[in-house]
Amino acid sequence: MPDQLLTGNEAVAQAALDGAVALGTGYPGTPSTEILERFGALGGRAQWAPNEKVALEVGLGVAYAHARALVTMKHVGLNVAADPLFSATYTGVTEGLVIAVADDPGMHSSQNEQDTRRYAEAAGAPMLEPGDSQEAYDYTLAALDVSRRYQLPVILRLTTRVCHSKTRVRTRDQLMPAPAPHYERDIPSRVMIPGYARPAHVRLRERLKALANSDQPGQFLVEEGESSELGIIANGIAAVHAREAAPEARILKPGLTYPLPIEAMRKFAAQVKRCVVVEEGDPVLYTALRAAGIDVEGKAEPFRFGELTVDRVAKILTNDHSPDPEPAAPPKPPRLCHDCPHRQVFQILSKHECIVAGDIGCYTLGVMPPFEAMDTCACMGAGITIGLGLRHVLAKDQARRVVSVIGDSTFVHTGLPGIAEMAYNPPPTGHVVIIVDNDTTAMTGKQEHPGTGRQLNHLPAANKLNYEAIALALGVTNVHVVDPTDGSGEFERLLQDRLAAEELSIIVARKPCPLALKGLAKLNQASPSDGSEQK
């Protein structure tokens, strides 16, 4: 195949196809979302999971069955999947399990900056870090291989600029042969009761040690330049910034960043007069190198924040701590679309001075003027539970103004346990939850979820969740569905009534996202006979 110009995400998807991945699953999250969409478009079996924990567990099952799995998420999604991750490294896998995690330094569309490299060390998962699309392709295939060889899940850590940058990619002509899935019973390896987990932990450390001592870490080491003055140790995208900022420097780039090829790095540092560690995010490499007694310089604290650039790397190298230049005018902030059905909801919440426990999605933009109708937003699913906490302790007059707002995709993701909690431990004043249901995962680009009743490729799914029935089943009997845009004032009346009632209520404010509707209409137009009728 001729070279292609691909984003890092597209390259991961292509590698999953060429690596005979049997199933790709994940939850959409910028900047990771396009991996699964592309994998599906290329003909791979790709599906959205309700959340990242579910995705990782499904992927783990695939990898227990001698097949290969790719699980995708953004950094904050790994927090949701952290529980299975820490056991997955104990149980190990029989074939390949690659967890592609996309960090978002600079928080272009995230609620925090977290460094997934910490998780690799904490959970004992080998980690590969590509710095461009070619490496994203090569390392995905390598990660499948390392996973099979050492029987461990492998994290492929991407960052925003790797995910969303297009660079040249040469793909393999020879595809990896697909394994034949089958099940072999191995209870002590797969059932993590203490008696089996203790030896499993020892086994995990042995596998990591074997990997660290093998030729693998060296295979992913890239060394460039001859300088004996300045040496730079850099990972991922930081290495290309460093190459440009200091063309004369000698650069060492580890591709396998957990476990680290520490002896090779020690040798490298000894060959140069000055050795600087350049890394985006936390000082992970720096700390590991210093702990190993290697004399390296790190970066100043201001460079822990935000993305690195060529300019910022040049500053790190010259110990220049002057502030970064600011644009003359700020960029235009995002806001709710002019025809967004959530607008009416936030107008009413704002008008009635509600205390709004919000959540993660497009509707988080309800915090922006003119609404300013969101008081909290911590993480997926927290809108319902933080609202409950507020209701439990606030004085009655304030408690009765507390409303939880959650989107449909987020409700399925981690909102459901919040409803169970609400039914189990109801606050004295009751509570009101509004599910702003626009029938899509709008924030990340209109992905499907179990509540839309459509699969990743937008074709009908086997089932569609019924939120009203779920709420009733969980013990909430006041469930109302309303179109907030119908102009009848029904939504406002309902809200006032439910706030006064001091009961548990769920209001489903239902109106499809106009952007998603447009997309679906286009899809139907493009392939009117698609789906079940296809010959």
Binding site: T30, R161, S165, K166, R243, T309, P334
Partner: protein, 181 residues
């Protein structure tokens, strides 16, 4: 223009929905086809909601970072005039800014329907202006446009692209000390 040994930096900036990503795909596709090492970087996500969108494209014999360094853009292409100030700092002091003012013909029609059409092609029109300054064959540009857009949009966009390209070639020729043949 001679084949550059150093990297040429281009920044395309505007608002969500103006085709910044598509425009940068056309540009990077054309550069890739023309045989350059090209890297393209963009930020999208929350910016889909009508906020600012920006894409960096760099090409040359070898490109390292995918991001255009501060004040280093040789060309700054702006699709919406309110986005000039927020992005001006990215332009090199000797760089060229390309804005909707460079394609007045696109907005000459008073019919609101064709004005809306025009607004949707602003990305391709501005690429036409840019194309007059880049060492890429015309046919390679047209191929890149066709590769990035669905078939029913090909004719319209190619026409707008060529129109803008011709005007810029003439103006550029008039301003150039070397002149055109």
């Amino acid at each position: 223009m001679t084949v550059p040994n150093q990297v040429t930096n281009i920044v395309i900036a505007g608002l969500g929905g103006q085709g910044i990503v598509t425009g940068s795909d056309i540009l990077s596709g054309a550069l890739f086809k023309a045989g350059y090492d090209v890297k393209k970087s963009e930020i999208h996500g929350m910016s889909q909601r009508g906020g600012s969108v920006c894409s960096d494209i760099r090409f040359g014999r070898r490109v390292n970072s995918p991001m255009v360094p501060a004040a280093s853009a040789d060309f700054l292409v702006i699709t919406e005039s309110t986005q000039i100030e927020p992005n001006r700092h990215r332009l090199h002091p000797k760089g060229r800014m390309i804005t909707p003012d460079d394609v007045p013909f696109l907005f000459q029609d008073d019919d609101p329907k064709s004005a809306a059409y025009a607004a949707r092609m602003i990305n391709v029109a501005l690429l036409g202006v840019l194309s007059a300054h880049l060492p890429i064959e015309e046919e390679v540009w047209l191929e890149a446009i066709r590769a990035a857009l669905s078939p029913h949009l090909h004719d319209m966009n190619c026409r707008v692209f060529l129109h803008a390209r011709r005007i810029e070639q003439i103006i550029n020729g008039l301003n150039s000390t070397e002149g055109v043949a």
